[in-house]
Amino acid sequence: MTRTWWKTGIGLVLIAIMLFPIYWMVNVSLTRRDSIRRGDLVPLDFTLEHYGVVLSEQGSFLATSLLVGLGTVVVTLAVAAPAGYALAKLALPGRRTLSFLLIVAQMVPAVVMALGFYSLYSRYGLLDTIPGLIVADSTIAVPFAVMLLAAFMTGIPKELIQAAELDGASTWRTFRSVILPVSRNSAVTVALFAFLWAWSDFVFASTLNRGGGDLRPITMGIYNYIGAQNQEYGPMMATAVVASVPTAILLIVAQRYVAAGVTAGAVKD
């Protein structure tokens, strides 16, 4: 372990550079509005006022965002994992066309999709509901998830699947007990992305969940600080800080699951 200390050192320097803009955001969130544009390196004109405002106003938005993020992960994986398998390992007719369509799908501007959802949702009463937002948010991640999972599943050795089939497992069984476990890395990766995209989505939230009151995600909570001629950057930055703490913890925990050699180990045996 002692031999890798230098790596930790370099890692810390790299992270310091990468997170400098975040430091800046924290700096601004702790500065009184009068000095916000002074460009001081540390919050000389210190205040906790912005956090007071945020904590009293944004709690429910935060909870909604978490719920939407997790729901999106579930929907995304449920749709994408079997499809990824079909693309990678099963004799899916027209799979090249399908991969191609997935690329096209990702080019559809979110705005265009939001409009489509709006007419669908207003017809079925799904506007301003959490399930509605979850389904919409999942569309950001699904094509990506399918492509990524398929790319990873392509690398699973044929022998593994053949062995399962020789043991008499059905396709579904093989998928569930062989493919899914060895795809844990990529599934966690996909889940992370699905979560983060849902977390940061603004276009769908502002079109489909405007009137959701407390049941709006945090990106909408920031609306409170955007007036017609007046934006309050202090509370906005404080909101971003407050919102990133729980998710940062979640990320670090999730990252541990993309553990070294999970797939490699399974394949080797």
């Binding site: 990702q106 999709m113 070294a260």
Partner: protein
């Protein structure tokens, strides 16, 4: 939800004992059905949520929509006039060039930095998991906040970036001026894109069995040779998809550019141009749905071209 219906053990595949020819055919047909079943949720999903808006978008680009006809109907069919008009504008080639620079520079730098970091984190060390997780934090921030932060850091008069440059004796830069805007939004966009590349490439590296590399090391290959001759070829499928997705996402980036410069000066790309026209935002408040859709369709065509390249590369790899 599906699993509860389907977990019931399904009896043994018939036909294995039968004579080879019809059995194989039946087997193939069965496999096909299974494949379709596995892809079915996705297919339903694509039709419902993507096909309809996509067709709407195309239809808008061949009709002459304004705000009134958008609401009340009656937009006249104009064929390819809108496309002709958009491509004929003076700014079209300029915007196209800027889009190319923005996209290629962003993904090239993101990929190289992401890969370097992924390799750096490949063997775990003290705190490596935590540090790796922290690299994703930029992603947690609403872009309105990170974009604003970049705008402030790049302030020409009081920005911290110029202050840092001053320490090493470099003259201050007017980052967000019309001429420098493209470079500045690329920097911010690279910063936003590094986490994405790091995560995918890192898990790609984790999926490569270390055996080959170890064997090569025993044969006397140095780390550099092992990386180029063994790791990179094995990482190719993941690299390809990372680059392709990076390309697609970068082509349609709007938010970070918009928050920093509203797409003014050299930072105008096809995506921001389309966005501005679709919403009547930015320099012009005139809403231009059809023009926006046409530019959107052009973007899709560009992505298609790269999609075809990707598929060709994929096929070469399989052969």
């Amino acid at each position: 939800m599906t699993s509860s219906t389907l977990t019931a053990p399904v009896p043994q595949v018939a036909g294995r004992a039968r004579d080879a020819e019809p059995g194989r055919r039946r087997r193939r047909r069965h496999d096909r059905w299974m494949a379709v079943a596995f892809a079915a949720p996705l297919l339903a999903y694509l039709v419902l949520f993507y096909a309809v808006p996509l067709i709407q978008n195309l239809s808008m680009s061949v009709h002459g929509y304004d705000r009134n006809t958008f609401v009340n109907g009656g937009a006249p069919f104009v064929g390819l006039d809108v496309y002709r008009d958009v491509i004929g504008q003076d700014r079209f080639l300029r915007v196209l060039r800027q889009t190319a620079i923005f996209t290629l520079a962003s993904i090239a730098v993101q990929y190289v930095v992401g890969l370097a970091l992924a390799v750096f984190f490949q063997r775990s060390f003290r705190l490596s998991a935590v540090l790796r997780g922290l690299f994703l934090v930029p992603w947690l921030l609403p872009v309105i906040v990170s974009g604003t932060t970049w705008q402030w850091m790049m302030n020409a008069d009081t920005g911290v970036l110029n202050a840092a440059l001053g320490l090493v004796g470099v003259d201050p830069v007017w980052w967000l001026s019309a001429d420098n805007a493209l470079m500045s939004v690329i920097i911010a966009n690279v910063w936003l894109g590094i986490p994405f590349n790091l995560v995918i490439l890192y898990s790609g590296l984790q999926n490569i069995s270390p055996d080959l590399s170890e064997a090569a090391a025993l044969d006397g290959a140095n780390a550099w040779q092992r990386f180029w001759r063994i790791t990179m070829p094995l990482l190719r499928p993941v690299s390809l998809i990372t680059l392709l997705l990076g390309l697609v996402y970068t082509l349609k980036v709007v938010d970070i550019i918009w928050i920093m410069t509203l797409g003014t000066g050299t930072s105008q790309t096809l995506a921001t141009w389309s966005y501005g026209m679709a919403f009547g935002k930015g320099t012009s408040a005139v809403i231009q749905y059809s023009e926006a859709s046409a530019v959107g369709s052009i973007l899709i065509v560009i992505a298609l071209a790269f999609g075809l390249l990707y598929i060709a590369a994929q096929r070469r790899q399989e052969d």
